[in-house]
């Protein structure tokens, strides 16, 4: 049978996300939430179960979890299901490193976030439906590349959104960086960014890229790429799922919101989807 017929065999396998919710994405364990309740003396020290020190106790005595350090090993949920729970959903990318910490502290500066969004909006306004991404691996474990590559397969088919991966930094609007920031890639990464037309947008993809994850501390990495170049969008995950990557890219382009930043339950998951996404289908 010729290949063209094979290609037609299964009909459409492509997700409708972000125009429509995707059940796979909504059910996916994309992060860890801290169960909001008053802390008691019997809590002990749950921060010790975390292998990457993502869990901390704030000055107000509340537990916080930094998704930028979390590698989703699930030990906290296993050890203390009363304090931690699995977050269903993949809209985990954020514009500010600080807001990767859940639950957000009430005095978080929404003004700053607004400024970030505005600044980014100015830079991506001209891109519309022709967005070219240059990917650079700065010391990943190899799995992140698989997930980035998956965006091109028929299931995610990122081309339908007018987004393309490009081999040349000269054509690139967005720089997508994976890996813990190995020092050997510092120069090539800087040169790649230098070679891109201004303005650029930088996405740090994966917990390794955000904080170095389990690889940090090391004499050979910068504990994340944030110390190597300014980052606009942070996508947690070890590695981030293709849906999370897609969310991060669309967030960078201002075509989708940050999801429910307070974290949501399974029930709310099905309802809540932020405004930007819906327009995708019609456009």
């Amino acid at each position: 049978m010729p290949w063209v017929l094979r290609g037609l065999r299964e009909g459409v396998v492509t997700t409708r996300y972000p125009a429509r919710p995707d059940p796979e994405a909504d059910a996916w364990p994309g992060g860890i939430d801290v169960v909001e309740r008053e802390s008691t003396a019997s809590d002990g020290e749950p921060e010790n179960v975390c292998p990457t020190a993502a869990i901390s106790r704030g000055d107000d005595g509340r537990l916080r979890l930094d998704r930028g350090r979390c590698v989703l090993c699930g030990r906290c949920v296993q050890a203390r299901p009363d304090l931690f729970s699995v977050h269903r959903g993949t809209e985990t990318a954020r514009l500010s490193r600080r807001t990767l910490v859940v639950p957000e502290s009430p005095d978080d500066d929404d003004e700053e976030l607004g400024r970030l969004r505005e600044d980014l909006g100015r830079r991506v306004r001209a891109l519309r439906r022709s967005v070219h991404i240059r990917h650079v691996d700065a010391g990943s474990d190899g799995s992140d590349e698989w997930e980035v590559l998956a965006l091109g397969n028929p299931v995610y088919d990122i081309h339908r959104l007018g987004i393309f991966f490009t081999a040349s930094p000269r054509h690139a609007d967005v720089l997508l960086v994976t890996g813990a920031g190995s020092l050997g890639m510092a120069e090539p990464l800087a040169r790649t960014r230098e070679a891109m037309p201004q303005p650029t947008v930088v996405i740090a993809a994966g917990t390794d890229a955000i904080s170095g994850g389990l690889v940090s501390p090391s004499y050979a990495t910068a504990d994340g790429v944030g110390r190597m170049l300014p980052v606009d969008v942070w996508v947690p995950g070890s590695p981030p799922s293709p849906f999370s990557l897609l969310h991060g890219i669309l967030l960078a382009l201002g075509r989708i919101g940050e999801g429910d930043r307070r974290g949501r339950t399974d029930e709310a998951d099905r309802r809540g989807r932020t405004g930007g996404g819906r327009q995708e289908g019609r456009a």
Partner: protein
Amino acid sequence: MSAEPVTGAATAETLRDEVAARVRDGQRFAGLSAGLTPDGVDLTALLAHDGTVEPLDVRLPPMATRFASLTPLVPAAFWYERAIRDLFGLEPYGHPRPDPLLLPLEDPSAPLPRPGKPGMPDDLPPDEFALPRVVTGPGLFTIPHGPVRSGVFESVEYLVETPGEDIPRLQIRLFGKHRGIEKRFEGMTPYDAVLLAERVEGIASVAHALAFAHAVERLAGAAVPRPAALVRVLHAELERVANHLDVALKLSDAAGLAVATARFGTHKERVLRLVGALCGSRFGRGVVVPGGVTAMPRLAPIEILDRLDRLQAAVEGDARALMATPSFLDRLRGTGRLDGALARSHGALGPVGRASGFHADARVERPYDAYPHLAMTPLPPRAAGDAMDRLKVRWDEVGQSFHLIRQVVQELRESPGDGTCAAPVHVEDGRALGWAEAPQGEVLYLLRVRQGRVTRCDPRSASFHNLVLLHEVFNGDILTDFPFIEASFGLSVAGAAR
């Protein structure tokens, strides 16, 4: 295995001669490792023979600055000794090309990581100019491929030295992705370290976690409960299917077969989703722990079997179509030929070795977990050593993996066990080896533990052992063959550069 290294040679010279004699006798050279101890530096050569991996040790005095290179007699040690030179500052004298590999430094007197020595050194930024670029010959020039590749690939730099079309020589520069993993292992508990092992080579997470866990279990004398051993095989084999589909996808992409690329991409996505549905991670992370697994699969056996049936039918149909597409096969036939004698003397691992007629498979030689009781369909002999046979070996293995997974799921269905997922593990001080067969080939972990903490862990991936063979396979091939040859090896830079 002895708790502390005592066996073996008195000097590096006797170690070299002993290893060379054993390799001549047909034993397989499986690696060379170093480790700093309070009494000096231990050099450990690993030799696989007769269903075991035997470590041969020599202890160099604490102030040693050099050792007798094995490479002139055992060429497979070529990269191992360069890595030891980079990390420990020990000069392998007699080595034909002792250039930096993992960590080229501007200042050769900088304090090196020296894995095994307590404490983390300051940042050591690699300096690419510390590497010589020597190209001579009329009309010869160098084409650098990478480190930022054209496409979504792992970073690595190939310096292709060419007069225009042929590729007479290739230099591989890995240091861009060196992450200092060996140093990072130190001081971790085995339970945390298994998570790091999963990230040494992310596309073979399960195999690395298994090799590490096996070393810990050997030290603890722990026996993995039967259902847990089955779950381990289930994930290891799904990982193999995903990796082999990735190779098929990259080869189809290199040949410009858009539909085939899309089809294999879809199948690979389905495998990753199946793994994700089983354990919550698309790469099987967090499944393996020392002593067993964290949990039983989240899908019912009957549903796993149902998904497998559909997957296998689709994969096999497309694989048959691919292997009947002449424009594709023309690119693979005779491309990147690895000589059978070289594969044997180097101890080429995994599909790369098997396609050249050399069979090293940890699941067969030293079966672990549930493998001793599972039937493995024999693979048809392949020996052409080209990209074509490497792909054929992968299809053979995919069939074998499906067969293994079916047996595992069937047994889980019939006897699901009492819910015990892991045996208790009390780790004794000492040293142990652990292994597993990754999709790339055998993974070997040499682990030292003291007072419940890892003091030294050397993760030897098949990618590190095999990648150096890329030097040897470009006889008569031209530049446009490069992506096919690279993809047909199916290796991960992360695992090699660690």
